[in-house]
């Protein structure tokens, strides 16, 4: 069973260290993480004492699912009074409590409604506290991610068995999506960043995979149109070009992220060599995947190898569209902490789950690389993704 109390306590400890008196959790994913329900409303967590989930809708479903005490939200105008009643000590003698909420996702309009409802509070950004709490996964969470990894492996093998020259990228993607959906995929993937969206991944072949992209990753794909400029396109998969299969799925909220490179026929020497370097980077990263390693060092080390191999210009995108990270946390969202990038000085800790994705982009030609997802353990790591590595070679 999920220990929601321990999740709340971890956040409360962080709040106490930052002298935050209360946290108004607003985002659906964060609410689900702390309560077990994703109904809408505001979850109030005092720095000390019991949390209450004030539910807008559906109160019936929230009562069934929530591990935290549920009350009806009612009128927003009375929300401030409700908080005073719940935690009188925070407001006594005209005190202005310090309240946190998620500035990274909360729209200004909703925030202004909150500020009006609780006029005598001092607000502060608590995004990082929630994200850092969610960064360390429990065994139950890791088990869900492993389930998702298993589903993605089924989908990958099915794709390998069905890919044919002349098939449109989106056709192969459709087959992957069908397979994961029939195996329990929830039908959507979540990404936290503003304006970042996620399809279930992409099948990207040749030049289409190497298209520049707004997407915060090394290869976003061409997409079907400018109105959804990511994932698979109408391009036909050809012989002797790399096909990047970067896919995920969502099992009971938890996502996985995996990339494999396949080719119908064979890859050029240059691309084969770049692929081998991506595996070398992954193996050398694995050697450092243990508690205490500093996240940004993993990126620096990968970049060093790419440079050594003369591939720095192609590493994690090309030119102005290179991204400056090697991997990212996954969990309920695909862009969780920690990030393996400069400036992220978190030491690895047991319970972190990270997708590591060394890739090389050759404009006009394609993208090659590999991505596996790992849980950090006491002694090192557990690899969660299970698909076969190496370039997957399909006979023409």
């Amino acid at each position: 069973m999920v220990n929601y109390l321990s999740r709340l306590q971890k956040l409360q400890e962080k709040m106490q260290r930052k002298q935050i008196d209360g946290f108004v959790v607003t985002q659906n994913v964060d609410i689900y993480y702390f309560t077990g329900t994703m109904q809408t409303g505001y979850l109030f967590i005092p720095a000390e004492g019991e949390a209450v989930f004030y539910v807008r809708r559906s109160i019936v479903r929230a009562q069934e699912e929530s591990a935290v005490l549920v009350e009806e939200l009612g009128s927003m105008r009375s929300f401030g009074e409700r908080l005073k009643k719940q935690s009188p000590q925070l407001f006594e003698d005209g005190r202005s409590p310090i309240l946190a909420t998620e500035y990274d996702v909360l729209p200004v309009q909703v925030f202004e409604r909150l500020r009006t409802a609780v006029p005598n509070a001092n607000w502060t950004d608590g995004s990082l506290l929630v994200r850092e709490t969610r960064m360390i996964k429990s065994p139950a969470e890791i088990a869900k991610i492993k389930e998702a990894a298993h589903v993605i492996d089924i989908a990958y093998e099915k794709a390998v068995n069905h890919v044919k020259e002349g098939m449109h990228e989106f056709e192969l993607m459709s087959m992957i999506e069908l397979t994961i959906r029939l195996n329990g995929h929830a039908g959507l993937m979540r990404m936290r960043g503003y304006n970042q969206e996620l399809i279930t991944g992409m099948v990207g072949s040749g030049a289409a995979a190497a298209m520049p992209t707004y997407f915060d990753g090394p290869a976003g794909g061409q997409g079907l149109s400018a109105a959804a400029p990511q994932s698979s396109s109408r391009k036909k998969i050809g012989q002797n070009e790399p096909v990047l299969v970067d896919i995920g799925c969502n099992i009971d909220g938890y996502v996985i992220d995996q990339t494999r490179t396949l080719v119908i026929g064979e890859l050029s020497e240059e691309l084969t060599r770049a692929y081998v370097v991506s595996e070398r980077i992954l193996r050398e990263t694995e050697a450092l995947l243990k508690p205490g390693t500093i996240c940004e060092e993993l990126y620096a080390n990968a970049l060093r190898i790419a440079r050594e191999e003369g591939l720095a210009d192609h590493f994690m995108g090309y030119g102005a569209d290179q991204v400056k990270f090697l991997g990212h946390g996954i969990g309920l969202e695909i862009d969780e902490l920690p990030v393996l990038a400069k400036g992220f000085t978190y030491p690895l800790e047991p319970g972190m789950v990270i997708a590591i994705e060394p890739k090389f982009t050759f404009p006009g030609v394609g993208v090659v690389g590999i991505e596996d997802s790992y849980a950090i353990t006491e002694s090192g790591f557990e690899k969660l993704t299970v698909s076969r590595d190496g370039i997957t070679i399909v006979k023409p």
Copy 2:
């Protein structure tokens, strides 16, 4: 061809009427609407003069796709200086221009970065201006929505031909998703409201369709788990129970919304009667669908019919989970203006596109109803959805 200049001019006219000096458009969908590209960055539209899209990523792709002048965003610190250079008259003599942005979707954190970058501006919420501009669709936009309607019809007919007793809801949903994806669906649907998400719709059978839901609609579905509590569930579709097939797809950014009710076997008299009332409401609403009709009157009229028929308690959900609208605008997002609900006093205008969805919920039993999408024309309406109406009866 899309006339982006006319879109910008319409927003500029609204800005001038509200004495707004400039608009910083931040959201991916809004940026796409005004520029033709969905790359990331900030689109600055002065109340008079030319708009500039300051692109973070990908500049290459934005240059290819944008109808608006593109510049590299560069450092956020210099953004204020860039705006001053672009529109010096707004800042001259130490003036503090009034700048609008989309408070309904912009996260507080990003807003604070904007405020820091342009310190001497007075900010105001421009969400409604953008949403009202987007409310009136061009013939090219309506043509896209009709394409989506055609795809949904193909998917519906295929579902009808394949549905069988004992099939899981999510299996039928997977088939629908496969069909729309193979016919050009972008792989995601967009909803603007905070914490609102959209799968491609739902197949909801019997009691599962009638589950209370956070989703801002009359029937959200049970979903696969509490972590994605909407759309289809693992419930098996049975004989003689209503199956609500409420589905959409996204063609080049534009979504459609359609609901049909099917049954394997036959429906009870009570449910059949409720379905007939939903069609009566739709027909009586159609009779009023013409320029000049006030949006909220359509909801009031529908509610009056539901009351007359003794079905008010079941209309648009049940009990605490009833929603108080009859329909909603669709376009690039599924929750556009106008809304057919109390307080929405817009008169219908040519170019509005509205999904109208009278439905009746019977807890523990199921949901019946119909949803069609319409474009308002000079003389009345054009129905965009094309699927057969009536209860779809499938032989057991």
